[in-house]
Homo-oligomer: 312 residues x 2
Amino acid sequence: MPSPSPSVLISEVGPRDGLQSVARTMPTADKLAWISALHAAGLREIEVCSFVPAKHLPQMADATEVVRHALTLPGLTVMALVPNLRGAEAALAAGVHKLTLPVSASEAHSLANVRMTRAQMVDEVRRVVALRNERAPHVKVEVGLSTAFGCTIQGVVPEDEVVRLAAQVIEAGADDAGLSDTTGYANPAQVRRLFQRVRAEIGAHAGAAHLHNTRGLGLANCLAAFDVGVRSFDSSLGGLGGCPYAPGASGNVVTEDLVFMFEAMGIATGIDIERLLAARAPLQAGLPGEALYGMLPEAGLPKGFAPGATYG
Amino acid sequence: MPSPSPSVLISEVGPRDGLQSVARTMPTADKLAWISALHAAGLREIEVCSFVPAKHLPQMADATEVVRHALTLPGLTVMALVPNLRGAEAALAAGVHKLTLPVSASEAHSLANVRMTRAQMVDEVRRVVALRNERAPHVKVEVGLSTAFGCTIQGVVPEDEVVRLAAQVIEAGADDAGLSDTTGYANPAQVRRLFQRVRAEIGAHAGAAHLHNTRGLGLANCLAAFDVGVRSFDSSLGGLGGCPYAPGASGNVVTEDLVFMFEAMGIATGIDIERLLAARAPLQAGLPGEALYGMLPEAGLPKGFAPGATYG
């Protein structure tokens, strides 16, 4: 049985980050069944969609309908990614509980990706916060600082710039600022150092760790983040979002493996591992033949494994 | 350039642990070329073979010839696995620098695997040490406590028994006792706790971490071991030794990914990553078509990566 009081929050990003990275579009009914299965496993925060123009991302054209369903699931924080003010308007109209807004820590990545400087993106955060304050003051606004650990365009991203940007988005009114290893460049020493520095700068506004497994260090980096006090982690069921072995792939940390690590350590996630593994079936039903990842799903639980209690 | 004074010792086990798990036998000439390439990459401890009857493991029939070649490589500690006194006699006759002797921490595994109790294996360690003292007192004897983190037969292996067994093999004269996660059951909290307990019991005789990636926690467990002072790590180039996704497979930690993690953290391994990646070619030449693993080899080094210096 999952613990009633989880020690860490696992934020499932598959229905947004994962599905957005797959060329095919999962039928809406399958999305709803999958999200229900994730909720049934105990997940209490799910990034269910992004609000972007359907011509750019047809996979997300049913965002409003997906949110409507997710809002029926008890105790679930329904989160949506919004790239800008316009997306925030649509997400707030749909009734989400939480917005997440990506802001590149790398100036080169910001310009290449959204054709805006970081300073312009901070202004966009300010506008999104103003809209939120006016229309739905209970909604949380999270900023994910992408390319926080390095950038495929400019290489190194100076830590001072990441810390300053975190302070700027909080000053602009965001509720919290997380760090994203968009490129899979992070290492555990860097993760510890940068989260500690960000926490020293913005305190309890320091948000989630969104770490990738592109170079195999995903779980080691999650452990490193946990060690310095991070308690919210993004991951994706089956690592959906691209083959973690392929250059340029998303390589999200696999939810199943992450939950196993924490539960094995005696750190309660509130998630039932067997039900979590069962949530792969509706995902596969909605995207037949799509490659899924994860070591635990292949190897199975250790003999004598007791979830939520330190093994041994 | 690799650092002249490594902070951690990476002990490559592929030529023994890896090749022993593959049904085919790698031709001797290919083994020698591969071991030379590993040495050229900066590896300074290699488990080059095991001394077991050729009828049981034809893959290791050329052990003496392999050792003879490895002894020509400057600065290399040439290690061989020996299951018992008879293997130790052959290994000492061949001139190895270090013997490693597996002793199961799980009584059920010990009986199933070598038909001896743990107490009988401790006696075997004592006999091996006596032989070493008589014939080659400069040779080191390492004991690897297998199934130290859990057993596929009996499930939980009580930590008290692991600690006691570590003390017994040191009392029997072994130079050090390492902990092996033979089954891929370990988690980072357990790794920290058990290495700390073993170190409290046997001090500087606490040896290497031999951790598996069967459930995806290989590098997180290596990080955890490093955090509590472990400085010697076993791993296998390309994860050779069975598909890490398959139940029952060896799932060795991948040397390339492990070295990348440490070097990215600014922890010198003495290993040149580019040359290490190049050492996959002779391995593949000797075992055409054999599946190799590793995330770094697929994704490549981060842009701007500086080995031996903390990234970012």
